[in-house]
Amino acid sequence: MTEPSETTVDSLVPIFFMGKRYDVPASLTIQKALEYAGYQHIRGCGCRGGVCGACGTVFRTPDSYKLQVGLACQTVVQPGMHLMILPFYPGNRSVFDIEEMKGTGGELAALYPEIFKCIGCNACSQGCPMDIDVMHYMAQAIRGDLEGVAETSFDCIMCGLCASRCPAEEVQFNVAILARRLNARHGIIRAEHLHERVKEIVSGKFEEPLRDLMSKSTEELKELYKSREAEPQMAEEDWTPVDARYV
């Protein structure tokens, strides 16, 4: 099987995977370049679309002393690059019961007291393939600003590259998800309409209308489908339908 996008027409460039040279087409991502070289990925390959965090990669190019990062599935090869995929990085995680918590910064600090060891070196932010300002959210965590952590870290894919670079041995991605969960659960107002609707369902409000629909013929259903009232695209939140029998 070949993935339909595979190409072999463009020029070959050398890359060094864990020190070993392969010559690969210049337009490929690191992930596809390794497949071109003959690898069938087991670790270090997940969604192939930049959201799952399986293929965090560190690399160096000949023109710079700097250590660079990217996702293997998103980063196009560069001639002469030396690279390694880091599919896993050990990270401590604290167990908690979100129901019993209140969503305070103090709770977060109690579960991850090492956040105060952050020395503000910014290696985490520089090591983030999602361009998240990791150091900033660690500072927000230290201040107890869970909402801030939640916003800053929202795109985190938990690849672990931040932790791999941290001289203070922080596990930033676990701090971040705890903050996001606490903020969403306790910091933000619960959706009252969900609660209300669940109560209506439990009370059996929609039982009869639904059972009635289920007993209808395809032709009857088609008529109902065609004549159902549509909420306009640009309607405001307070729009209500003319036919309010079933809502």
């Binding site: 070289a37 159902r228 009232e229």
Partner: protein, 559 residues
């Protein structure tokens, strides 16, 4: 890579028609949607499901004779990977109450509910916990929870209309009635949904919805849900044990035909394990990586239909697999991102779909099969031939994201679609000022294993939930109903499996007699090729290299 000059020239046509299109949108003047009776001919002529020669009848097993995609039949008309006579089931490597196969949205939801109901859970998964299509779902999750505006009644009607009125009514009923509680459950665990100040969930339209009921977490809704429930599972390590990089390759049955666990394959040490279990939940997801009809796919690396294959061998019939979902909008340029999903939420937010002339040719919120067929018709030389040519000789159409900023305010695209904004920025394209070039891409397995509303299969103790199961979505799933499906039915499967164990206790000694029998059936059907299944992982390695991979018997491990 940024758009080359040739495409930049064509974008000028999109820019030229944009102000008038935005104006029409603001005034509520939409491009006319197809009438119900107009959908049929477009589907018949341009939807990939209807191309002749792409399907054939299955030759063996419980749904023998059912005609479905060749690529899936290849896996069903195939023998086991492991010699069933060699696996020792008398001495299990692991024992558990509930074995869950697959660690995506459905598997993880099932694990949480089974554990909550007192069952010890083992999750076995091919890759890592959370490596699944759930993680990649972008646009949203449906639930009819806006009191006074929407209800499960309309949700039901939309699902039936999208699915061509052939869905299993009990399954649809179960999903729409449990949807608001599923959302409440996720909210309670701390999933960050996009909300108004007063806590009300923000919702929008998807293709084929009559009410705005798509809840979302920016444009990474699935990732947000997956990360949250996975994190919660990690709070219960005493009850939930996860075995990664160990796909299931066969189901085990006891002498009464009840499910008794599964055989796993450790991808790193190449050894087979037997996990003895009192009940098994299959949550292995879909099959996009089979590249049906050679389509590019939005799916996860592990989406290879493994669960479908092993349950089918164990006697579970399949249905609704004769239709496959092609997502209308996958990236077709730049090439490095080809196949990647562009969420339907862009169209829900008002972005038009445009041809080479910068003109609309389809209403942007048709159900997915209709939308995809219309795009293929526009691109195809046998259709209207108005596709935009890419530098690699493919065709696509424009998805006009910049008009979202004009409709909803500067910065909306960056804020509401951060995932895609970053993705394209890496290639030097700013989607808040430039449109995206897209084409339909293989997205979802509409059908699958037959289940009832308790997620039971016809094998006692064997449950299925999520994309591996069929019937809920009929012949075409609507946006936002797969995240809902995995959460609702995952929770049901976990609860039901725990209850089954309380009632039935331990399973008997496991055996693989059904596999031995199936292998013989395959032999008797005189299937020419020597195929084995499940596939486990797609192989994209260079064919030139593969020609030289001559090892017959491996020593040591394979990786």
């Amino acid at each position: 890579m940024p758009y080359p000059e040739s495409l930049k020239k064509l974008i000028e046509k999109v820019v030229a028609t944009r102000p008038a299109r935005v104006e029409r949108k603001k005034n509520g003047q939409e491009f006319p949607p197809l009438k119900l009776e107009e959908r049929e001919p477009v589907l018949r002529n341009f939807h990939p499901d209807f191309i002749e020669g792409t399907r054939r009848p299955i030759k063996v097993g419980p749904s023998k004779g059912y005609s479905i995609s060749n690529e899936i039949v290849d896996l069903l008309d195939a023998k086991s990977r492991v010699n069933p006579y060699l696996v020792n089931l008398l001495d299990p490597d692991f024992e558990t109450d509930v074995l869950i196969i697959g660690a995506g949205g459905a598997g993880t939801a099932a694990a949480l509910l089974a554990a909550q109901n007192g069952a010890k859970v083992t999750i076995a998964t091919k890759l890592r916990h959370g490596d699944a299509n759930t993680m990649m779902a972008e646009g949203g999750i449906q639930a009819a929870d806006k009191v006074g505006k929407d209800s499960p009644y309309y949700h039901y009607l939309d699902i039936l209309g999208g699915g061509h009125f052939v869905n299993d009514p009990e399954l649809v009923y179960t999903m729409v009635q449990n949807a608001p509680d599923a959302l409440r459950w996720l909210e309670g665990m701390g999933a960050s949904f996009s909300k108004y100040e007063d806590g009300k969930m923000k919702t929008m339209h998807g293709g084929g919805t009559c009410r705005k009921r798509m809840h979302y977490a920016a444009d990474i809704t699935g990732a947000e849900i997956m990360k949250t429930i996975r994190d919660e599972a990690r709070n219960h390590e005493d009850m939930i044990n996860v075995i990664e990089f160990s796909p299931a390759v066969e189901i085990a049955l006891d002498d009464q035909g009840r499910c008794a666990g599964a055989v796993l394959y450790n991808l790193e040490t190449a050894q087979y394990y037997y996990v003895k279990a009192k009940a098994v939940i299959l949550a292995t997801g879909g099959s996009g990586r089979l590249h049906i009809q050679n389509f590019m796919t939005t799916n996860h690396y592990g989406a290879t239909a493994d669960g479908l294959v092993i349950a089918y061998r164990a006697g579970v019939p399949i249905s609704f697999l004769h239709t496959v979902q092609y997502h209308p909008t996958g990236v077709v340029f730049p090439e490095q991102a080809e196949g990647i999903l562009i969420t339907e939420k862009f169209r829900g937010a008002g972005a038009n779909v445009l041809n080479i002339h910068g003109e609309q040719f389809v209403y942007e919120r048709e159900p997915r099969d209709v939308e995809a067929a219309c795009i293929i018709r526009e691109c195809s030389p046998d259709g209207r031939g108005n596709g935009v040519p890419t530098p690699t000789g493919k065709f696509g159409v424009w998805l006009d994201s910049p008009m979202i900023d004009m409709l909803k305010g500067e910065g909306t695209v960056r804020k509401e679609f951060p995932g895609k904004h970053i993705l394209f920025r890496r290639f030097g394209i700013d989607i808040s000022s430039e449109p995206m070039l897209i084409h339909p891409t293989l997205h979802y397995q509409n059908g699958g294993l037959d289940i009832n509303s308790k997620c039971e299969t016809n094998v006692p103790g064997l449950y299925a939930a999520g994309e591996v199961a069929g019937g809920i979505h009929g012949e075409n799933r609507l946006m936002g109903n797969s995240l809902l499906d995995v959460i609702v039915f995952g929770r049901i499967a976990g609860t039901q499996a725990a209850e089954y164990i309380r009632e039935h206790g331990d399973s008997g000694t496991g055996n693989l007699d059904h596999v031995k029998h199936y292998n013989k059936e395959v032999e008797a059907a005189e299937i020419d090729e020597d195929r084995i299944a499940p596939m486990i992982l797609p192989d994209y390695s260079n064919p030139e290299v593969r020609k030289k991979q001559l090892t017959k018997d491996y020593f040591g491990t394979l990786s």
